[in-house]
Symmetry: C2
Subunit: 311 residues, 2 copies
């Protein structure tokens, strides 16, 4: 990967994504004593940055591969993203989901014409089922976060952010499976000469924090966090990038996540999901370290059940 | 009033307001079978269009008048708007509020350094108290909606909307005290040669609908609607404008308001208050009449208690 290739990725995915706005808030700037630039991926198609990586993964397929479709396992935003991107590009998408996944999530995938294949609710069952679908249909497996094309796609949010605000000192990204922060770190490295990337992670699912400490991919035994998009572990494609280019990871408590989320809802009048609030919670927690800096924050998504809020 | 004067109003208030974005949603356009352009006054300073009228009312004062401050009676967005505009312009604001107004609203006014004067919770008591403050301090009384400078200020949202989208066929505005829709109608009349203005009003507080029918200002006996910003009656300054320039008023049920609000929250990922949803609910209710049209919708504000939602 290099700068030109990442620009090519951006050009390739542009027809399938929104160029999301960057919002600011005087009140939040005063509160943090810094200039904070929110990259609003909650306004992205299907409501999350995942659309970028999914689109890039599919447009990167050969003509032959496209004919057999794509398969992933996800009950979250990537399921919707892959379904929608596949629909727009004219490719079949198979989505492996645990049979106890919420109906609302199944319906969202169906809206985008993804074909749901149900499995038992554990990591081994879903991988086995995805392999079975792959074997039967010839579909290409696309991992939600540990896939080069997905990682590069996610990096395009940072290309746009740095085009709009070239002199950012920091970009904060939430850390879940590692695709977003790896793409963010690659893009920041190529498109800025001084912008550092910092991850925000729930303390209750701090596998990435521990992985950076030990130098190996550590796993979450449990992951009891409201930030449901951040419960997954890193992978062998994104971890080397994270290790090389991410400055550090800041861990936040559950109440700090909820407080940051509520602050953004109330003050910015935009809807973000708990996983999105984690990066901003990390800024708030350590604001003394970032005084007067220019800070980009990636608001990763806005898919939340408004009938079931944490406040 | 004429076109040039309204442009001057816009220039005068620009330092004190945001030029709010206009957002669109593919999904909503498909649903309505029309092109809908949402003017996001929920992103306005203090969270509502009221900032425009309040700022214009204060900048319109003479130097001598400014020294004695301004007074209004409001427990809603205008209380905050007048306080913030006064603070920014360096004028004292007295806000008459019923003593049983929610603490959260009192706090918002205090944040903007408005001085709260409490009164009993009825229309006569608040008018008497405002008159008393006026007499004692020499402050200029500014009505939240029935004041020429306020009406013209509210019209600036439509100047911006028509600058961005000059060929709108309709603009929908909620109708409460009448300041916003009167300003909207004036601006549409001056800045478009064919754009019609339609009001959305809760059926439970349909004073404006009945006023247009009878030709006189009709009052709400009760106003049991979730759209708390729309419970007030029209006044003698705005009603003649409404009568002359507003095409019609469409009434909506409470469940239609809540449904429209939820749709915007979930699909557009932005927070709007129930009063804001009324104009869009009117579009949804009559969508057959507006097929393939270009429709502006003024999302009037986003100040909502996220701990107490109707869904």
């Amino acid at each position: 990967m290099n700068k030109d290739l990442l620009l090519q990725v951006h050009e390739r995915v542009k027809p399938y994504i929104h160029r999301t706005p960057v919002l600011t808030s005087e009140l939040i700037n005063n509160m943090v004593q810094a200039n904070v630039y929110f990259k609003c991926e909650n306004f992205q198609k299907m409501g999350a940055f995942k659309m970028r990586g999914a689109a890039n993964a599919i447009v990167s397929l050969s003509e032959v591969e496209r004919q057999s479709g794509v398969v992933t396992h996800s009950s979250g935003n990537f399921a919707q993203a892959l379904s929608l991107a596949a629909k727009k590009i004219g490719v079949k998408a198979y989505i492996v989901m645990p049979k106890n996944a919420p109906q609302v999530k199944k319906n969202a995938v169906k809206t985008y014409e993804g074909e749901i294949i149900e499995c038992e609710s554990n990591p081994i069952a879903r991988e086995e089922m995805a392999a079975k679908v792959q074997q039967k249909t010839g579909a290409t497996f696309i991992h939600p976060s540990n896939d080069d094309a997905v990682i590069y796609g996610q990096g395009t949010a940072t290309i746009e952010l740095l085009e709009d605000y070239p002199d950012l000192d920091y970009i904060f990204s939430p850390v879940g499976g590692g695709g977003l922060i790896a793409g963010t770190a690659l893009a920041a490295n190529y498109f800025s000469n001084h912008c550092k990337v910092i991850g925000g992670e729930p303390i209750n699912a701090d596998d990435a924090y521990r992985s950076l400490l030990s130098g190996n991919i550590e796993l979450n035994d449990s992951a009891d966090t409201i930030a449901d998009g951040l419960r997954t572990n890193l992978g062998d494609r994104n971890f080397p990038i994270i290790k090389k280019y991410v400055e550090k990871i800041i861990r936040v408590e559950e109440d700090e996540i909820i407080e940051a989320m509520k602050l953004i809802w109330e003050r910015m009048k935009i809807i973000i999901e708990p996983s999105s609030a984690v990066a901003f919670a990390a800024v708030l927690k350590n604001k003394e370290d970032f005084k007067n800096k220019k800070i980009g924050v990636i608001l990763s998504g806005g898919n939340v059940d408004v009938e079931n809020l944490p406040f």
